[in-house]
């Protein structure tokens, strides 16, 4: 990490921090088992504070340690700074300060690195370099403040700049508007000329679509079930890993106004089975969120934690924060967790195994998500059934059939360099995760499924659930619109099979939820009034398909979600699967809300309130007060 005289630095650190014999022995043991630099191992174990760490480094290296980064920044020579990019500053951990009489003064958090000297020679034409030591956090802050506008711009627009056609910043293209308007117009003309057959046609198309959709999901479920027989990464694989060979792993944790969770979050991530000094944990905080920053500082996490302050700029969304965090990631791999998440402790190691075993085409492995508060109420039970069905069967099914996989919101494990080359997340898409999965596929990458679980908090409140779901469905609509802009070229890239699967899965999810209420409405109208009015709309063939959908389709829908309990053995949830039609109706309500927002405020991020579960491991103070 520091590229400096390792031995004297380690000794210095032990002296500066006054470590006990047991602490030194433990640190040596960890160091022997996991490798790396001794000083950084001690710091990551939380035995020393950052100032102590850098004071020791200053002693060992004989360099002056500078504080007050804001003052330093004011005196940097802009003629030198403009020759650097933020990528270089972050990668090499230094900033040029001044050039005086042929001597280049640099601010560095990693003194003594040959790469730094080479870059300075190449950029500034001098090999006379004087180093001024600053802490890595100060250097991060200096870089973030100095390159602020560039970095904000890239965090928001990197995906758009890379390929505007893959950005949801534009909701509809002109071609799409013309195409849809043409279809609507043609239909209206037909409706005018022949009411009966035009409506019959629409109903027939929807019925066939529903039927195909159910069959497709059944096939996926069956394919996904095969995972039970062939788990891709097992405990032996994880045990066979040597800690010394593990790469640095970055973990992004976006938080906003959640001071209460910080302590538990730090404790929680300590339980991860991964050498702490190889974990690069970044807490992503919004600039105006002083409360959480204070709480985080007060919790004094070990030196491998960094607080990344995301600058105030619109859109203020999780994908923008994650893009910003990605700039600072040191890891070879990276994952995202929410503050409340409880990941399987071996998840990161499983991901390393999965990446090493998979071919170079893999950009991401998605772990399964499930809920720790299933038993809280009816809604959380239904939600858990849905998640089990989705993450335990459907996504593995897509994986098995090599189809595009929309990612879930957290616990997706990325290859950092490939993620960067994909342009990161799209801050204009309200399901940036799903969009990224599809983009990866459209660019010829693959997404895999990891048989490891992260437990999250299920939304336990109806209104909150509707808001969250409407955001998800709106995001699916955005994603579908983005990847139907150039269907022919996309089919050429990924093939017809994947293209159809994407349409059924992403477009179909939204369409099913939108189309269900009118069809159910017609059925209920007929059931209650026995009116003959709808009969002409259901000629024999359409009627048979409709009956099959009504009986077999709905049965299968319920049955599939019953099967979903098998993998985890959560059998008490089984009877609740019968209530699935109610859940579908809720999805439809959310879908109509999403459709409205797609036109009125497409980028609006419906925030989901977390930490409201009675069963949450830790709750927000404000909510706890309300409950009391």
């Amino acid at each position: 990490m520091f590229g400096y005289d390792t031995k004297s630095f380690g000794d210095e650190l032990i002296a500066v921090a006054g470590l006990s014999d047991e602490q030194v022995e433990h640190a040596r043991e960890v160091w022997r088992e996991t490798g790396g630099e001794f000083g950084w191992v001690i710091a990551s174990l939380g035995y020393v504070s950052r100032p102590q760490l850098y004071a020791a480094l200053a002693e060992a290296s004989g360099l002056p340690l500078a504080g007050d980064p804001e003052r330093l920044r004011q005196h940097m020579d802009p003629r030198l700074v403009v020759k650097m990019t933020y990528e270089q500053v972050i990668e090499h951990q230094f900033m040029p300060f001044q050039l005086q009489e042929g001597v280049l003064v640099i601010l560095t958090a990693h003194p003594g690195r040959a790469e730094t000297y080479e870059l300075c020679q190449e950029r500034f034409g001098t090999s006379e370099i004087a180093e001024l030591l600053v802490t890595d956090l100060d250097l991060t802050m200096i870089a973030a403040r100095t390159f602020r506008d560039d970095m904000v711009d890239m965090a928001v627009l990197s995906n758009h700049r890379r390929n505007p056609e893959q950005s949801a910043s534009r909701v509809f293209t002109n071609e799409q508007i013309v195409f849809v308007a043409g279809i609507i117009l043609a239909f209206l003309v037909w409706l005018y000329l022949d009411v009966r057959w035009s409506l019959t046609f629409v109903i027939a198309v929807l019925q066939v679509f529903f039927l195909t959709s159910v069959v497709f999901k059944t096939v996926l479920m069956l394919a996904g079930a095969r995972h039970e027989i062939e788990p891709p990464v097992d405990a032996h694989d994880v045990a066979a890993l040597h800690d010394t060979e593990l790469p640095i792993y970055s973990v992004l944790v976006p938080v906003y106004r959640e001071p209460e969770v910080v302590g538990n979050l730090i404790a929680g991530l300590k339980k991860i089975d991964y050498p702490q000094h190889k974990l690069d944990i970044m807490l992503l905080l919004e600039e105006d969120d002083v409360v959480t920053l204070e709480a985080a500082k007060a919790a004094r996490p070990s030196a491998n934690w960094r607080f990344i302050i995301v600058p105030n700029a619109q859109p203020r969304t999780k994908p923008k924060a994650c893009n910003y965090g990605l700039f600072f990631a040191r890891g070879e791999y990276l994952t995202i967790y929410d503050a409340e998440d409880i990941p399987d402790p071996t998840q990161l190691k499983s991901a390393v195994v999965a990446f090493r075993r998979a071919g170079p085409g893999f950009v991401c492995f998605q772990a399964a998500l499930n809920y720790f508060n299933a038993a809280e109420n009816l809604l959380t039970r239904l939600f858990t059934l849905e998640y089990s069905y989705w993450f335990d069967y459907i996504l593995p099914g897509l994986d098995r059939l090599h189809l595009p996989i929309p990612l879930g919101g957290t616990s997706n494990h990325f290859d950092v360099s490939k993620l960067r080359s994909l342009g990161g997340w799209d801050p204009f898409n309200t399901t940036e995760d799903a969009d990224l999965g599809i983009r990866a596929s459209a660019e010829g990458y693959r997404v895999g499924i990891l048989n490891s679980t992260t437990f999250e908090e299920a939304n336990a409140d109806f209104g909150n659930w509707i808001r969250q779901r409407s955001r998800w469905i709106k995001g699916y609509m955005q994603t579908w619109l983005v990847y139907t802009r150039h269907p022919i070229s996309l089919i050429r890239t990924i093939g017809l099979r994947k293209y159809l699967a994407f349409n059924f899965f992403v477009g179909g999810t939204a369409l099913t939820a939108l189309a269900a209420p009118p069809l159910w409405g017609i059925f209920l109208l007929w059931l209650c009034t026995r009116t003959r009015l709808v009969e002409p709309l259901f000629p024999d063939v359409v009627l048979y398909v409709a009956i099959v959908n009504l009986l077999v389709g709905n049965f299968l829908g319920v049955y599939l979600s019953m099967i979903a309990v098998f993998r985890r053995g959560t059998f008490p949830l089984l009877p609740y699967a019968l209530l699935n039609p109610v859940y579908w109706l809720m999805q439809s309500i959310a879908a109509y809300k999403a459709l409205g927002q797609l036109f009125t405020k497409p980028f609006f991020w419906e925030k989901t309130q977390h930490g409201i579960s009675r069963l949450a491991p830790f709750r927000r103070k404000s909510e706890a007060v309300r409950a009391a």
């Binding site: 403009v82 100095t146 002083v290 105030n312």
Partner: protein, 277 residues
């Protein structure tokens, strides 16, 4: 109001809040939320009463409505700011207007923050707590210059901007009161009168001082804005010093430094190019 809230009302320990609003329902709502959170609450039903009560009761924070009879929110804030007793109190504006220009108007009038009605209780409390915390930080946060850096910095410190005592004093006083916006107004008014090199340097110096204060108050947007204004002052100087090559170079160099510090490297890059033709 239940007994727990009344109990909390009787034993306030978190601070005293003055609510100025003509709508009794809203006052009851806000009061209930604040009392439950442990604040002491005083109410005024119009701006004039608010100003009077503000002067008498020494509140820690004032919440005021925007649209009111007698004095509207804007006038109320001006009056509160002009009264020595309430000049430095944090003010939150409650408004039904969510358009940017209305929010800017509220902030311009001297409010520290705004809340859009209908508001969430948690948000209201969080914003109040944040304001009070900043106040506390501001009182305790005295920056200590690092001696090692000070030596380095002194070597490259540009010719110190001559800051006239008569201009500096009111600005400094406003800053000391925590009235950053007032200080900014004074500095802008002074900069608008700038004509000579001396004036530009002085104005730039004021902006830089304001920027440091804004940074300490955790207001990076304002800090960067002030740095850009300082940069513009150095640019104006460069333009007036057409004949003097060395002065132009220095002025562009300083301007580039300001834009760099404000995080705008695009402009800094262009200025560096101009500095070294």
């Amino acid at each position: 109001m239940n007994e727990r809230q009344i109990g909390a009302h009787a034993m306030p320990d978190r601070g005293r809040i003055l609510i100025v609003d003509d709508d009794p329902t809203l006052r009851v709502l806000v009061r209930a939320a604040l009392v439950a959170a442990g604040f002491e609450v005083i109410e005024a039903e119009n701006g004039a009463d608010g100003v009077r009560l503000g002067a008498q009761s020494n509140p820690d924070l004032i919440i005021t409505d925007w649209e009111m009879p007698v004095m509207d929110g804007h006038e109320t804030i001006r009056a509160l700011r002009n009264d020595a007793a309430t000049a430095t109190k944090p003010i939150l504006m409650l408004t039904t207007r969510s358009k940017t220009e209305d929010i800017v108007a509220a902030l311009d009038a001297g409010a520290q923050d705004f809340i859009i009605k209908p508001f969430r209780k948690d948000e209201l409390i969080a914003r109040i707590e944040q304001q009070l915390r900043w106040r506390q930080l501001l009182r305790s946060d005295v920056p200590t210059p690092d001696p090692a850096v000070a030596v380095d910095a002194a070597a490259v410190e540009p010719a110190a901007a001559p800051i006239e005592a008569d201009v500096k004093r009111p600005v400094q006083e406003a800053m000391d009161r925590g009235d950053l916006r007032g200080a900014l107004d004074l500095a802008v008014a002074d900069a608008e009168r700038a004509e000579s090199e001396r004036d530009f340097m002085r104005a730039a110096g004021l902006y830089r001082g304001g920027s440091s204060a804004a940074r300490r108050m955790n207001n990076p947007d304002l800090a960067n804005k002030l740095l850009r204004l300082a940069g513009k002052m150095y640019l104006s100087w460069a333009e007036t010093a057409r004949a003097d090559g060395a002065a132009i170079e220095e002025a562009y160099g300083l301007a580039a430094r300001m834009f760099m510090a404000a995080g705008n490297l695009k402009v800094a890059r262009r200025l560096v190019e101009r500095q070294t033709p």
